[in-house]
Symmetry: D2
Subunit: 359 residues, 4 copies
């Protein structure tokens, strides 16, 4: 099982939008993956023809593997139908992702994407393996863009962390309402992204479109699949999003009202005992524990905990009663690993093990 | 009126805790004040006897006035009863403020303090001139520590900003509940305060004692004076406090539930039309407008707006409806000016004009 | 004299490149200037027609004056020859400054520019009023671009600070060689300029073109005017330039070899006694003392000293003997005030008083 | 050889000053070391008796191993002579290191220390394995503090990086003079160390004692062992040290004058071909390449390259001719790994392989 699950050959994959911040994380995570092998890197027209090393301003802490550095970038819009791969990871900008991804689905590819364009499509799983693996059944009848390919999306970077914390609460106590205030890292805005003059010694109290995503995506993710349709979760969410001078790691101050108010100890147990099919199958990128709970007042912190469990676990602390809701707590997750590329890779790993990706 | 209100001689004052961050703000604000003149600077035993320039690690942006640089520091605990002043500003640490301030009151001094020790004492005004000037009437019967001095406190740095925003809402629409999440500046922790290794590229999700202050102080401040007793405001408050890498200026994400839900435009008008006795009397340090409202999505920001109206105004923006409460908005105030030394000086200015400080 | 030097009417001026970082400093410094009045703001084609408030992402700490906020931006390339002004301040990008400024000179305007394009032209003064006011005589015979206008440039932001420190050393002891290592603020790269992902928790050891400017511009500035030609100073300079996470204020670690090695005390006296025609004429923006010397080991610092004397003075400290050169010291100057817009305004002030600008 | 060099049992070691920044690095590097096993953690009197987890504010990015978290701290001053270990790593403060380390030597222990106290003692190797492994011969006759123990020191954090860059230049071309300007990380000052109010948006142009160390230690390190005495290298060094807002990684701008000026290509080859006994023996913590050379103008950068080769390699870039010296370049090294704990561990590894540590 898990890492013992072996293939004769690795699954060949392409990365669309490979030069951006999330694209670089894809390269980092897939460059040495036990199941996947990068055979195609694609980016915008202007990068096409350059080597990856030339076109990408590599910002990851680990060195760029030489074999990838020398790969020639293709254009996302003119990928030859050479059929050397059938699985595509996408970190395209929303400005072009909708159309390009639809083209790939039309041409029979399986698209695992971080882009937001098709997230709320009723036929498309908005997937977090630990939370709503059942939604993958939507693929059985997914029939989109006039082709026989498939598409699976992962949620917004802040939504993923939030839903991992909400899932055990929903299962054990039922959710009524959620108030979430974020302090988000600059890597979430891509590169070059946030100007240094805007964030040094400053806080920016607005991130375009972010609050709407956080208030709607969890309703789908935590919704139930009934007769192959997702029925939205009826809870209410209010989100306030801020940008702070942190490189990686989104912090969220969360207040929750539950259907049945548990004791603090029951809350902690719900967090600590949380596990899922991703852990059972020991998917390569699955965190050993999806949630790490800290009792120290000053934790979690981005600098200290963002890399826990390969950047795939969320950290929770400061759990205490709330005068207005039932409980409040602080939540941290790595926005470009768990909240983007890592989340997408984990989605693909689950799809492999459940038979949705074949080769 | 106001700046035209002149004295033959300035009022001599002492500053206790003069070398700390808030003490330095007191020196900056009182060093060239039209009504007050610093005649005594006091600090801890170990600084006594040194010049102010030697003992204080001056961190203000404006240069230290030479006349003050050369003043010899006294010890707060052995101030001679020379009666060269009767008004004392205090920015003492809570560890020693309680006792020392009580001694000054016992000995007949008027103490205007930023320390938290006596804030919740039922006989002590917890004063913000724009919000609860009526509470100064507590002084008429204040009888504390076995002396005939008087003491007035100002609230916690985060509370002051919050109450300035809440006051017009309370007056126009009535407050039911308030949810406040802060992103607070490092200057709030004094000097040396927060270690750079703890805050560079990081967020600290906890500030000792801060949430309790924010959840209780506003109830007294927005309470009513009935038969010379303050009846606490019955609203409920939940606060979550975080430290971020900002030098000055506390940001607060606020959600409010009101007794009568107004339109957004009515909210804006309540903020923009807010004024008070401090503005009517044109107190020297009073902001021309206590609240500046911004309609741009990306405002307010600490770096851009903390110095508005001499650092004495609060800035509000991002007003929008809240799915859980009625409205949510972002609030900024300067924590060591409006939220500490400037707030105390404004308190003293009001006390002068209302006859509570004589000389 | 000086501030007592009055005009019946202020001199009308235009600002080219008014929306950028240096352009905003021009607006801040000229918006309330005793001698100059902004009558025209110009920027790129795409900003033309918008109000200044719409087009500029105002980043200065002081609020944007309303009268300027509502001014309509012109295009730098299609300014009507309406002759409502004859003095032009330029903070244009080097990419377009050369041609546009030449056009203005051709059409008879006086151009005072921060752009680098014409700095090394032998007929153009590269002016710092405290250092080489004599070079203004070049204007008497300046005959450029086929017109009868005039053009005066100010040096690169790092060069200005360096030359202010070198001038008294040159005068008293003679300069042989200078080794300069900079730690430069992010505002020097304009807006959006440096990406936050590149500078948070980082140092960038390269600034395009900066070292070449620092190694050549001082030779012209400290050169002598002989027969209306500037003879370059023969000293040698080596510069190393780095970008650090500071908002404003360039630090330079300087080592100097002098023709006659003075005592440390003589060095200090040379710095402290330094004054010039700009101080004698009490030009409105001239610092009272061009150089502030600090004996404390930890000074100067950008955060503490960049605003000294309206941001127009340089700060020097840590003077000590150098095992390789004669002395080494640390130098600070405000890069967008003294090093750019403020330097240009001071140039124009000197030109007014010396009769090079008439109206 | 190297990692294939196996022991029946690991060597038991103690760490003195185990709770500080460098002490934590020792714990991180030795916690899972193939040759060494931590059997004793010691710190100040006030930490003695607490578990390591209680006493240390763990700031490393990797999680604290449970087995170490639960170890009980001993007092450095009352370590029982239980002889369960004979090798001691020290990261004590200079205030107490001199005496405590002398006591250990007196009692027959082998002390491998990062403290500065005994660095310049003529009988004590100031060791960098890649640079001066021959100096270990001093141990043959080392006779200090009236005991039969031995002591080996590693240089100051900035010195180590500098000497690794200078060594191949010395060997190939001969060194005449070196000018070094540093931009040093905050972790170099320990914890709590630099106050955030002092370094956010700032540069501090002074680090106590640092310049003297950089100007003297390399002369010993690069000196020759003649008749069991170290003859200092006669080159001259000038250092200027600054603190910047970087968490880890010291940058140095270096200018060098050589006895024979090579071509730029010869310089690069000298850097890139540099290797040593540490690489030949494949010591566990030895970097594969001590020097990484970058031709990209914007490299090296602390955030990007500090972790190269486990944080044990230095990075060099921006090599170019210098108008005053022969060449200038930029150098980066990790100050608490290569420059402190990692350097000391590598020293001990070399001592093991050369027979200076037995058990």
């Amino acid at each position: 099982m898990g890492h013992e699950f072996h293939f004769r050959d690795k699954i060949p994959v392409a990365i669309l939008g490979a030069t951006g911040m999330v694209g670089q994380r894809f390269v980092e995570l897939l460059g040495n993956h036990p199941w996947f092998q990068i055979v195609c890197l694609a980016a915008s027209e202007k990068s096409a023809g350059k080597t990856y090393a030339e076109a990408a301003n590599w910002l990851m802490a680990s060195p760029l593997p030489t074999s990838i550095a020398s790969m020639t970038l293709q254009s996302c819009q003119n990928l030859e139908p050479n059929r050397s791969f059938s699985l595509v990871f996408s970190s395209l900008d929303a400005a072009c992702a909708g159309e390009i991804e639809a083209d790939f689905v039309k041409n029979g590819y399986t698209v695992v994407t971080n882009a937001r364009n098709h997230r709320m499509n009723q036929q498309v799983p908005l997937l977090i393996p630990e939370v709503n693996s059942a939604h993958l059944k939507l693929l059985d009848n997914q029939n989109l863009f006039g082709g026989n390919g498939k598409i699976v999306t992962n949620p917004n970077c802040s939504t993923i962390g939030l839903c991992l914390a909400l899932k055990p609460l929903q299962d054990h106590f039922g959710l009524e309402s959620v108030h979430a205030t974020t302090m988000q890292a600059i890597s979430g805005a891509g590169y070059p992204g946030v100007a240094s003059l805007d964030i040094l010694d400053n806080v920016i109290p607005h991130i375009m479109g972010e609050e709407a995503k956080m208030e709607t995506e969890p309703l789908k993710i935590l919704g139930e699949l009934v007769a192959n349709q997702i029925v939205s979760n009826p809870m209410k969410i209010s989100a306030q999003c801020n940008r702070v001078a942190v490189s990686d790691g989104h912090m969220i101050n969360v207040s929750v009202k539950l259907k049945q108010k548990p004791t603090k100890q029951e809350m902690i147990e719900a967090f600590q005992s949380f596990t899922s099919i991703a852990q059972e199958l020991a998917l390569p990128l699955a965190p050993k524990n999806p949630i790490h709970y800290f009792s120290e007042d000053q934790y979690p912190q981005p600098k200290v905990h963002r890399h826990l469990d390969k950047g795939m676990a969320v950290s929770i602390g400061r759990l205490r009663e709330c005068p207005l809701f039932d409980y409040k707590f602080t939540l941290l997750s790595h926005n470009t690993i768990r909240g983007a590329a890592g989340g997408a890779v984990l989605n693909a790993e689950l799809m492999v093990r459940l038979g949705y990706i074949r080769w």
